[in-house]
Symmetry: C2
Subunit: 144 residues, 2 copies
DNA sequence: TAAAAAAAGTTGCTAAAGTCAACTATTATT
DNA sequence: AATAATAGTTGACTTTAGCAACTTTTTTTA
């Protein structure tokens, strides 16, 4: 690939991550740490066993076990052993956990709102169309 | 702002960060942790006192002091007290540090190469033009 | 201009985050 | 039936990070 293209892509990555504060330690919320937020999201989506989460997020299972225990103690998730394989615990958000996830989402929306609100409609449309195009093309050619 | 726009932007953020592994713990290299990589980059760019780094990266100065000490012990950076304010130490990369930064950059380039290489030229051009447009518009309307 | 306040960086102490290996219980393999 | 593998837990440990007290030098102020 052309060196100029690589440079341009990296430039975009830097500016975009900086503006969005994607690498920000404190993420977008005050409630939860990055990992917790991610766990809520994934459990809600149906990635709901420790083992699946471990593989998806590439984290140590010992550590994950403790984090999940803490979330359970805080009443944010439940773990139930079903009728099937009695080694696995199926995780699910409690009502409190659902509420927390929604609050998280509201904050994330708010953050986007703050960052993009100043952009006039015509230009915002361009940005969004560009995003769709990038997303589609990149996805189309990405592995598996 | 329109709810649909927010959704679309967040969708892009998720897919883009996932594909690029921007939030990946191990970043793009094996040599250094995220913070170290960032420090090299910034020192090289001229953000070369602990105090400046602390403000830019929003990290604790005690912790930073130790990290810098370690980098110095590893022969990657030097700190020199100049003729001016004798409280400040000016940081600079050693030859070894420069080499490490370059290696880091090569790896980052390689990663981009891997991720985008499958995209045919015509579509890659679209992606890059879109990136430029997004970058320019977002920058134009971002605070300060 | 001497005393007080502030700034740059270091160090001790602590907590949180993360890793690794050994362990229990259950299920799958031979 | 015995052995190996899998899901999750626990103990011991390292790394990462944060806070406050401290030293040295510079700036402010009375």
């Amino acid at each position: 690939m052309d060196v100029e293209n690589i440079k341009e892509i990296r430039k975009f990555n830097r500016s975009y991550t900086r503006i969005l504060k994607l690498t920000d330690k404190y993420h977008l919320n005050t409630h939860f740490a990055l990992l917790e937020s991610r766990l809520f999201l994934e459990i809600d989506r149906g990635v709901n066993t420790a083992n699946q989460l471990m593989e998806l997020l590439q984290i140590d299972k010992g550590y994950l076990s403790r984090v999940l225990k803490r979330l359970k103690n805080d009443g944010l998730i439940d773990d139930i052993r079903g009728d099937g394989d009695r080694r696995v615990k199926t995780l699910q958000l409690t009502v409190k956990g659902e509420a927390a996830l929604e609050e998280d989402n509201r904050r994330a929306d708010q953050q986007i709102e703050n960052l993009f609100a100043r952009i006039p409609e015509t230009e915002l449309k361009k940005v969004i169309d560009d995003m769709k195009e990038i997303k589609d093309i990149v996805k189309k050619y990405s592995k598996e």
